[in-house]
């Protein structure tokens, strides 16, 4: 664990900066209150007052930590106040969206590699799809699907899939094309058909590329789900926690939800990383 020292130093620096910023940004409110009461505050009085506010502009790290801890462990997991409950709602839509998105991405990639017409036509559309702000298109998807009777996690999952298919397409196309001319020639000398070359050469070659893009894809899936939760009337999910927090000025709640989302993303990426390690090890590609 030789790396632990530098990591802790950086972490400590971030926390220290955060405290400084919290004091600086929350001081205005303390000064306002004091002016209203006709008092002056000293620095010694100011600091604790900036770090204990109920609705600070920037909550201090310990406030966020407490909010996060309360949300995760302080409630029954079925409670509407539990971050575990909300994270689960978000996670289920993320999972479904990721499965749809990565499956679509892989299928499109296979089509692009094998079909010249798809090669020329699909990629520009895939790129164009990602230039549209997801915030603009998400409410439309929700409204359109709602009017056709599709509700629940499916609309969110589709927004999530919309974001996650793209990295998978790009990575998988690159991976399927990674065998060089010599390896493809070798296949031809054995009189192997396109299907055999795909199964024996292209698909295994694409695995390292696929996993790299799945990691990006699952993080994008989570972002998509949270964005999808913002305009849904926000009943459940980390997105709704963010939204209700901002309605009522509950900054601690917003930050706690943000950190919960961050933890969830880290966990999901780690999960893909683990699957990658297991797969590549079995293939003899991990050293």
């Amino acid at each position: 664990m030789r790396n632990l020292g530098p990591i802790l130093v950086v972490l400590a620096a971030i926390v220290a900066l955060w405290y400084l910023a919290a004091v600086w940004m929350n001081a205005a409110w303390v000064h306002d209150q004091a002016a209203r009461d006709g008092r002056a505050v000293t620095l010694a009085e100011l600091v604790p007052l900036t770090l204990t506010q109920e609705r600070p502009v920037l909550p201090a790290p310990h406030q966020v930590a407490k909010g996060l801890y309360d949300g995760l462990f302080g409630q029954k997991v079925t409670s509407k106040r539990s971050l575990v409950y909300h994270a689960w709602v978000t996670l289920s839509a993320t999972g479904l969206g990721f499965v749809i998105g990565s499956a679509a991405g892989m299928l499109l990639a296979v089509g692009i590699v094998f079909n010249r017409a798809m090669d020329l036509s699909v990629m520009p559309w895939a790129i164009a799809s990602q230039t549209i702000p997801i915030l603009a298109i998400a409410p439309m998807i929700i409204v359109v699907l709602n009017s056709t009777g599709v509700t629940g996690i499916v609309p969110k999952a589709i927004i999530s899939a919309y974001l996650s298919f793209f990295p998978v397409v790009v990575g998988m196309v690159k991976g399927l094309r990674s065998p060089d001319a010599m390896q493809l020639d070798l296949m031809r000398t054995w009189n192997a058909g396109a299907l055999t070359s795909f199964a024996k050469l292209r698909l295994p070659s694409s695995m390292p590329y696929l996993f790299a893009s799945l990691k990006v894809g699952i993080a994008a899936s989570l972002v998509g789900t949270i964005v999808g939760e913002l305009p849904t009337g926000a009943v459940a999910g980390l997105g709704s926690r963010l939204l209700s927090g901002s309605y009522y000025g509950q900054t601690v709640q917003i930050w706690a939800a943000l950190f919960a989302a961050g933890l969830l993303a880290a966990g999901l990426v780690a999960l893909i990383g683990w699957a990658e390690w297991v797969t590549l090890k079995r293939m003899g590609l991990a050293r």
Partner: protein, 266 residues
């Protein structure tokens, strides 16, 4: 084409072979009027500067390129038919082993594609591993082997399905000289044991003279044959044959042929 196949013992027969590549800068004549007969059991080297079409000719035999004129038969068939009947094994300059397959798995690959039974696959893999002196290395992965051993594995892979012809495109070009000498020696032994017909592309004069029964000297722009030398050296060749007078004479003739080809390029 059929009448060419009538030449007794001829395995590969090229008559007036032309190949023109259509490139963005206009047509490029890669092969011009190539005439060559390769007999069963010959060890034929193709030597010449880059761009002389030696690799292209080998690829024509393998049906990886298709001639635009003249005729070419392999085992009395068109190259495409010959490929479908697994007439040849091909060895490239790089071993091209799949990193995700063990050495045995790599050698098994063409056998899987060609539909051999599991038992036969295992039996053949063991046999060719022994043939290239890699017995016991089947379970290793390519990255655990040296470059020379990887190239031996790729030769084993080309031998696994009993093709009569072995086509080798600068197979030892990326290896250092000491390893190269050893592999040349081993290749000769392998050739003596198996009686294969070998087509071997190289740009090393000593390598060509040491290995071949027939040396084909080629020159570029357009790629063509300038000299065909039937080697008087015995089939049994220790490495020190390279100091003999005959060896030096043949090497000299190859060098002359290469220089002549180079001269009329200007």
């Amino acid at each position: 084409m059929r009448d060419n196949a009538a030449v007794p013992g001829a395995v590969i027969e090229a008559r007036g072979l032309d190949l023109v590549f259509q490139t963005a800068d206009g047509p490029v004549q890669a092969l011009k009027d190539v005439n060559l007969t390769i007999n069963k059991g010959d060890f034929v080297s193709f030597i010449g500067p880059s761009g002389c079409g030696k690799t292209t000719f080998l690829r024509c035999i393998a049906a990886l390129e298709h001639a635009t004129g003249g005729s070419l038969t392999v085992n009395g068939m068109t190259p495409d038919e010959a490929r479908m009947r697994r007439a040849y094994g091909y060895v490239f300059q790089a071993a091209g082993l799949y990193p995700w397959r063990s050495i045995a798995g790599n050698i098994r690959l063409p056998l899987e594609i060609m539909g051999f039974s599991k038992a036969e696959q295992a039996e053949r893999v063991e046999r060719v591993l022994a043939l290239v002196d890699l017995a016991g290395f089947g379970k290793k992965f390519p990255w655990q082997l040296s470059g020379g051993m990887q190239q031996r594995a790729s030769i084993a892979r080309a031998l696994a399905f009993d093709a009569d012809i072995l086509l080798m495109d600068e197979p030892f070009g990326a290896l250092d000289e000491i390893v190269r000498d050893r592999l040349n020696e081993e290749l000769l032994k392998l050739w003596a044991r198996t009686g294969k017909t070998i087509g071997f592309v190289t740009h090393s004069i000593p390598e060509a003279v040491y290995l071949s029964t027939k040396i084909v000297v080629m020159s570029p722009r357009p790629g063509r044959i300038t000299d065909v030398i039937d080697s008087p050296l015995p089939r049994e060749r220790p490495l020190d044959i390279r100091d003999s007078r005959e060896f030096i004479e043949i090497a000299h003739r190859v060098r002359e042929g290469l220089r002549a080809g180079h001269g009329d390029e200007v």
